[in-house]
């Protein structure tokens, strides 16, 4: 079924009896050419591009719970491509370009809203660093715009520009950045993949790998063994738990990141603002809630819930620049589990086991990467060579020293 304005009107006039499920919930077959472990945004996007762009078939996506029930539904929905380093920026700009065409591509309203993202500047040194980053972005085909305090004040009059500790001295804007309805990304890719013949199998947890003579030939699951030509792990947050079943240790720690939504307010915040010095960022959802977040809790966790000191810290960061935030009540908060990698950048690579591939280590930046992550992972699976925008995301960079460390924090995952 193709969605259109005409279809909406027709259904409205005929009692909405013509809508069917957007995708089919399949039972597993005994064998596939490709098994993708993890029915989140990245896994579903991988399946979609594998079928659509690389012409592959007999593809299954295995999800231990329900699709869209993991991190793709737990993030703060921001898209951007404002990175500095060569290993990252072409990839994230590719992703932003895919976002720009996503709804037409999928025939699905993902509410891609390019409302702009603004990184605040507080010191001369930070301005120098942001100018450099903006230039790196422009060199890679992205957009970047250095704003003065007056320009920022004109758009966001409520910002406290005269905070004694962190006065706002300007900002680096990426006007093409913005937000996306995150659940719709999972649903849209699921629908697109399903239409191309991908089997989406829910409530099917991978419990082990079938490995013969160093080659992965399938997976063990809670719904029985399934044979596969190639197996692709795509389970950021649980990567270590899954890959441990193939005997791998990863350059990853799992950490909990909390996110917050205020009660619904009238439109007040038209774009996305990040306050890096206090590690606070905020946007306003279309329902009116202020969606915000900050630092990870900082200790290994798989608990999907955090602790109160970080709640206080994030809210203090918010109050420092948005004094008006103090009048809004916190409506919801939750935690998601991040693959925090050793250099803050992801890994998309083959493994030491033939036929077993890995995608993970997204830290807390995985959502914006969803389309490109799926695209380049599909490229790797179909061709056994890395996509040109993802050549740096190798496992061996941690032993060869080719780290992609945007923040220069070193091998301390809770600081990225």
């Amino acid at each position: 079924m193709r969605y259109s304005g005409f279809k909406v009107i027709k259904e409205a006039l005929t009692g909405h009896r013509g809508w069917g499920p957007a995708w089919r919930d399949r039972d597993p077959a005994s064998a596939y050419d490709y098994i993708i472990i993890g029915g989140g945004g990245h896994g579903l996007a991988t399946a979609y591009y594998l079928a659509k762009v690389y012409g592959q078939s007999r593809i299954a996506v295995l999800e231990k719970g329900w699709i869209g029930g993991g991190n793709v539904g737990r993030n703060t929905t921001i898209i951007r491509s404002n990175y500095l380093l060569d290993g990252n920026e072409p990839f994230y700009e590719f992703s932003l370009q895919l976002w720009e065409g996503l709804e037409q591509e999928l025939n699905y309203n993902a509410m891609v809203s390019q409302r702009g993202i603004l990184n605040l500047i507080h010191t001369d040194a930070q301005r120098d660093a942001f100018i450099r980053r903006g230039n790196a972005m422009i060199l890679n085909g992205a957009d970047a715009d250095l704003l003065s305090t007056a320009q920022i004040k004109a758009r966001y009059p409520f910002l406290n520009t005269d905070n004694a500790r962190f006065p706002i001295k300007g900002g680096l804007a990426q006007h093409r950045g913005g937000t996306v309805r995150h659940d719709a990304v999972a649903w849209g890719y699921a629908r697109g993949a399903d239409q191309l013949g991908v089997d989406i199998i829910q409530n099917c947890e991978v419990t082990g790998f079938l490995i013969e003579d160093g080659t992965c030939t399938g997976v063990e699951t809670t719904r029985g063994p399934i044979k596969a030509g190639k197996v692709a792990s795509c389970v950021a947050g649980s990567s270590s738990r899954v890959m441990e079943k193939a005997g791998m240790r990863l350059p990853i720690e799992s950490h909990v990141l909390q996110a917050f939504v205020s009660e619904g307010l009238k439109p007040v915040l038209s774009g996305v603002i990040t306050f890096g010095a206090g590690h606070f960022y905020c946007s306003q959802s279309d329902k009116g809630g202020l969606v915000f977040g900050g630092d990870i809790d900082g200790y290994n966790s798989y608990a999907q819930r955090g602790n109160l000191p970080v709640v206080e810290d994030v809210c203090e960061g918010g109050m420092a620049i948005f004094p008006m935030l103090g009048r809004a009540r916190l409506l919801r908060m939750w935690g998601g589990i991040m693959d925090m990698s050793m250099d803050g950048s992801p890994i998309i690579d083959r493994t030491h086991v033939d036929g077993l591939y890995f995608n993970g280590g997204w830290c807390y930046g995985g959502f914006k990467a969803t389309p490109a992550s799926g695209y380049v992972y599909a490229h790797l699976l179909a061709t056994d060579t890395p996509h040109p925008t993802a050549t740096a995301y190798r496992f061996d960079r941690f032993s060869t020293g080719h780290m992609i460390d945007e923040k220069g924090m070193g091998n301390q995952p809770n600081l990225h």
Partner: protein, 95 residues
């Protein structure tokens, strides 16, 4: 989370900073033949278990001692707290 410090009693975890897996106590021998691969493993690879995890916490806003905390990564429950110094000596680290 409350960390029951062996010397100071129960303290809020917010007083501490977190380093990571307690296996970091055992730094490889820099003179070993395979020191490069040992250090790559030591510096970058982690078990990252779901369940019991022994980890290093530093009492930065307290007595500045290093602790080995045994904690569940699925429930955040802390079951054991020891001075890292004691653990290192017990496990045979000389320096």
């Amino acid at each position: 989370m409350i960390i029951d410090h062996p010397l100071l009693g129960p303290r809020d975890s917010a007083e501490f900073t977190y380093l990571g897996d307690a296996s970091l106590i055992h730094r490889p021998d820099w003179e070993a033949k395979d020191a490069i691969s040992q250090f790559a493993e030591y510096g970058y690879q982690r078990d990252n278990p779901a369940g019991t995890h022994r980890e290093l916490w530093f009492h930065e806003q307290g007595d500045r001692s290093w602790l080995v905390v045994t904690r569940s990564t699925t429930t955040h429950e802390i079951t054991q707290v020891e001075l890292a110094r004691d653990v290192a000596r017990r496990e045979g680290r000389s320096t």
